[in-house]
Amino acid sequence: MQHTKRALLLNPRDNVAVALTKLEPGDMVEVRGGVEKLVIRARDEIPFGHKIAIRDIPRCGYVVKYGYPIGRAKRDIRVGEHVHLHNLESLSTIRSVCGGG
């Protein structure tokens, strides 16, 4: 098994955590800050400070960080995926995949 790396959960309601080091695909990641201990496997390369999904998020479901929605999933997102421009859109975009502004 590879060395465990860490990510930080900012609010118990969040479905993404922040990578505290650069993550590689296959890395086991310990998510700190939650109520229960959580270890997930990174699916993508995720740079320092970027977001990793800690739960599956359905297409157009809210992505939650700091306890509040920061946007919606542009497609289904699986646990361990990098969450960024390719799969997350702002609630205020006018080019929305999910519609409704």
Binding site: V18, F48, G49, H50, Y68, I70, G71, H84, S90, R95
Partner: protein, 371 residues
């Protein structure tokens, strides 16, 4: 704090002469002004309010205004508006004194005298209740919301609790955080003002067919791990702390009273800092993820990063490393106390990195095209 002598051009046409006058006297600071003429009323008002406010800033001892003579901005009224704070204000008019060289000579003589007079002022002790603190963030990344902004928010709460005032600016970077912020508004009226100030940026962008996401978050924010404006906002507002929002100020409006205020400024750091300086802010804490050298002519700007890599790379431009919140799991309170100590040292005269570098960017906000 500081006791500076400021040279302010009342119009862009007088700006290079004003800059040369300021450059000739070591104690002087130059306040840049790109406007003052050919502006529509709302913009001319903003320019006037900003220059008057900066002239009245507590860090300024006295002011020399350099006017061309035919500009729209009323230079004499500007002098009066600054003088009501009790500061000595001098005015020279290039067209009246016989051109730029005469203005330069006359200006330098006046400025030397003002600098000499300002040097007689002695530093006195004040507690935090006398402080007006600004909080700013620029070049944010994902560490801003976890380390630098919470640590700054801790200091902001301390200043408010001790009876001081804090200004949180950059309303476009509150989009998506409205729900959180209005819960903290002093009254329904303040909540409504706040929502209006925030939403107008979206309407403005949409009215010209532009997606706000074209500029917010910025390219640097995105590389740093911030994907959406909502995410940027939720991380950004933490730097203002957690206290009640007393009121929403217009750009460059003078802060009245104590407690936490929001100022309606753009997200552009330099424009936001100029507005806060005009509002009476004496010192600003500026959090940055990516790193920036930006300063201000009248306020010490304390640069704070929560990104350990940025601190290592840009320590010449950054005053405080808050990354131990992430790397060593230190508490926000513990690191916040250290930042508060630095704030007190800087308030007592310790120069910031931006002051040592003499970085004095100053850009005034505008809404409309020039004519």
């Amino acid at each position: 704090m500081r006791n500076l002598v400021a040279v302010i051009p009342s119009v862009v046409c007088a700006s290079h002469v004003a800059r040369r006058i300021a450059d000739s006297v070591r104690e002087a600071v130059y306040i840049d002004n790109q406007f003052g003429c050919s502006q529509l009323k709302p913009d001319l008002k903003i320019t006037f309010r900003t220059l008057a406010g900066v002239g009245r800033n507590p860090n300024i001892a006295s002011v020399l205004i350099v006017s061309l003579g035919c500009e729209e901005l009323p230079a004499e009224k500007l002098a009066d508006e600054i003088a009501r704070s009790g500061k000595s204000v001098e005015l020279i008019v290039i067209q009246e004194v016989g051109g730029s060289l005469h203005a330069l000579e006359k200006g330098v003589r006046i400025l030397r005298r003002l600098a000499e007079e300002a040097s007689r002022v002695r530093r006195e002790s004040f507690d935090l209740s006398a402080m007006v603190l600004g909080v700013e963030c620029g070049g944010s990344d994902a560490t801003s919301g976890i380390a630098a902004n919470p640590v700054t928010g801790y200091v902001a709460d301390k200043v408010v609790d001790m009876g001081g005032a804090v200004i949180l600016s950059e309303t476009p970077e509150m989009i998506g955080a409205e729900e959180l912020l209005i819960k903290r508004a002093r009254s329904p009226e303040v909540a409504e003002k706040l929502v209006r100030a925030i939403r107008k940026w979206i309407e403005l962008a949409h009215s010209v067919g532009v997606d706000l996401l074209g500029t917010q978050p910025t390219r640097g924010n995105i590389e740093g791990g911030i994907t959406t404006i909502e995410e940027k906002s939720l991380g950004a507002i933490i730097k203002g702390g957690s206290r009640t929002i007393q009121d929403v100020l217009e750009y460059a409006e003078e802060v009245q009273g104590r407690g936490l205020f929001v100022m309606d400024t753009p997200g552009n750091d330099v424009i936001s800092l100029a507005g806060m300086a005009a509002g009476g802010v004496q010192l600003t804490i500026f959090t940055t993820g990516r790193g920036t050298p930006v300063g201000n002519p009248v306020m010490p700007v304390i640069k704070v990063t929560g990104n350990p890599y940025t601190y290592e790379k840009m320590s010449d431009d950054i005053d405080f490393d808050a990354s131990s919140v992430i790397t060593n799991g230190r508490s926000v309170e513990e690191v916040g106390e250290e930042l508060l100590q630095l704030v007190l040292e800087v308030a007592s005269g310790k120069p910031t990195r931006a002051e040592l570098g003499d970085y004095t960017e100053f850009v005034i906000h505008k809404i409309l095209p020039s004519l």
